[in-house]
């Protein structure tokens, strides 16, 4: 794709917005409640699969199926959270990684339920192509049409999607901003520092952490649904464990506990990530396009290490307020 092709950048914008929502969910769990959830992508996957299965196999209307997808994410949060939320930080990380892996493993190995490695396209069995986002595309077309009328120039379907996703992301930022400043957010902030002190003044620490986990799961579920709807067909590969660490990178890029920096982080991340597709000059031209994907992942790992080492408070964070570890 050409550097100057607007369709490409619109696509990047959509993905950035989806990652922003995804990272906002992680922010609630990790930055607000101090839960290092290393299996965040599992919530995305469960929401997407639930929605796709309901639409494709049971002809459930999209809004209902999407809602059910979010309920699925909430259920997973309960199942995963109740046993693990009380664990020490690194044990929690291990347990959530394991949880996420199990979800991916199930998705790969229960083809009757999930279509197996082929993914959503195989949900109706072999020989049939399953698609679920017809309604969504039609909705986008209508929206694009309306926007074209308002703005004056032609708004493409993807542009409409990008606008929608970013409006949603913006709204969620505002909502979370308020939540952070509420008494609820205050309790979480205290929990991050000293759980026993919080218990001693009569707050149920476990309940607060679970609420944060569930809220984060819902946001991840929304992101998972949006991703599924945008790409039309998905497989377990689209919800691979590495995505969780994209979110960590985004949260860290913006400064561990800067809510407002997350959209910025998401954009920066997406630019860096997609940008490597385009850089065709030496020495990158030595690496063929197939290997570029691995280079990108390599860079993600590298940035993760670099940021944690050099500037754990991110680009915009405040070192004094750093709440990194227990």
């Amino acid at each position: 794709m050409d550097f100057l092709n607007p369709a490409f950048w619109t696509f990047v914008a959509i993905i950035a917005g989806i990652y922003a929502v995804f990272s906002l969910g992680l922010y609630v769990q990790f930055s607000l409640a101090g839960l290092p959830n290393f299996g965040h992508v599992a919530f995305m996957a469960v929401a997407a699969y639930t929605m796709a299965i309901l639409v494709v196999r049971y002809a459930v209307p999209m809004p209902l199926a999407a809602g059910a997808g979010l309920v699925g994410a909430i259920l997973l949060a309960l199942v995963l959270g109740i046993p693990t939320v009380r664990l020490r930080a690194d044990y929690l990380a291990i347990a959530t990684v394991a949880g996420g892996e199990i979800i991916r493993y199930l998705a790969m190995n229960l083809p009757d339920l999930t279509g197996g490695p082929i993914g959503s396209i195989g949900l109706l069995g072999p020989g049939q192509i399953a698609l679920y986002n017809g309604d969504w595309l039609a909705f986008l077309d209508r929206l694009a049409g309306n926007l074209s009328g308002v703005v004056g120039t032609r708004v493409s379907r993807d542009a409409a999607a990008a606008i929608l996703v970013w409006l949603l992301a913006g709204l969620l930022v505002l909502v979370l901003w308020r939540c952070e400043r509420s008494p609820w957010g205050r309790v979480l902030k205290a929990i991050r520092e000293d759980e026993d002190a919080v218990t001693a003044v009569g707050k149920n620490v476990f309940a607060f952490k679970m609420q944060a986990l569930i809220l984060g799961a819902v946001l991840a579920g929304v992101a998972g649904l949006l991703l599924a709807l945008q790409i039309g067909v998905f497989s377990p590969e689209d919800y691979q464990p590495t995505l969780t660490f994209y979110a960590y990178l985004i949260v860290i890029l913006g400064g561990m506990n800067r809510l407002l920096a997350i959209p910025v982080g998401a954009v920066v991340f997406s630019l860096l990530y997609s940008g490597t597709r385009l850089l065709n000059f030496f020495p990158l031209s030595l690496i063929d396009s197939g290997s570029r994907a691995f280079l990108r992942l390599f860079l993600v790992g590298f940035l993760l290490v670099l940021l944690m080492a050099v500037r754990p408070q991110g680009m915009l964070g405040n070192r004094r307020e750093l709440l990194l570890e227990k």
Partner: protein, 261 residues
């Protein structure tokens, strides 16, 4: 005639075979200032931990205002009116003094996430009440000028005052203080003593205090409970306890010269 507010009956708790609490039994009257003393390792802090719900007992019963609370979760015990402070003051250092107080406010609808959106007025009204109460209590413990400072900048004694203020936010009937005078400058220690007396006199708050400083114990307590090796070995008014042989033996007995072969 004051009623018994806290009753501990045959409380037991072991750690890896060592009995920290061994069928300890005692009672604290409402409106009293009761001291809990004993040599190191007697089980006093363990008793506090078990009573306040931070540790589960192996056996025994705890009654608070007539209600059985043994095994109850820590936050539920606090909400029932039995609030504890810690030996090393645990204030939230990355929050302001005022926020520390606001955090402890009781019955805040704003702590239920949904209510912030479904009932914003109710949340705001209660926040205002909690805010006012916090300022009043800060004034009481004379920390009001420091309300906006990070709690991490407070001295040890100031942190203890903050912990006291924070405990009061939870509207307790009884406060458990674990060595409140330890590591506190004498001026602040005097203030603490004065606060304890006044809170009991004016607000009827009951106090149970673990303390090593005998002068403090003698001067403020109505009643003294003595523990040793996980058991209660004596209880009574301070001057009687001071003369009690068993108490003297517990503190000194191990170091006394052998009087018998």
């Amino acid at each position: 005639m004051s009623a018994v507010l806290l009753e501990v009956e045959r409380l037991s708790r072991s750690f890896g075979g060592v009995a920290a609490l061994d069928e300890a039994s005692f009672a604290v009257d409402e409106g009293s200032i009761t001291a809990l003393i004993g040599p190191n390792g007697a089980g006093k802090t363990t008793a506090f931990n078990v009573i306040s719900g931070f540790l589960k007992p192996d056996a025994g019963a705890i009654r608070f205002a007539g209600r059985r609370i043994e095994g109850l979760r820590g936050d539920l015990v606090a909400r029932a009116g039995l609030v504890r402070a810690f030996q090393a003051p645990r204030v939230l250092t990355r929050m302001s003094v005022l926020d520390n107080m606001l955090l402890a406010g009781k019955d805040q609808p704003g702590e239920r996430l949904s209510l912030n959106w479904l009932a914003p007025r109710r949340v705001a009204v209660r926040e205002l009440e909690v805010h006012r109460r916090a300022l009043d209590l800060l004034e009481l413990v004379r920390l009001l000028p420091l309300a906006e400072a990070y709690a991490g900048t407070l001295s040890g004694g100031q942190r203890k005052l903050l912990e006291l203020g924070r405990a009061l936010m939870v509207e307790p009937r009884m406060i458990l203080l674990d060595e409140p005078m330890a590591g506190v400058a004498p001026v602040l220690a005097e203030q603490l003593v004065e606060h304890i007396r006044r809170l009991r006199a004016e607000r009827g708050v009951t106090f149970c205090v673990i303390e090593h400083d005998m002068d403090v114990v003698m001067s403020i307590s109505d009643r003294v409970i003595v523990m040793d090796e996980g058991r209660v070995i004596a209880e009574g008014p301070p001057d009687a306890i001071q003369r009690d042989e068993r108490v003297i033996e517990a503190y000194l007995g191990r170091f006394a010269p052998a009087s018998a072969p």
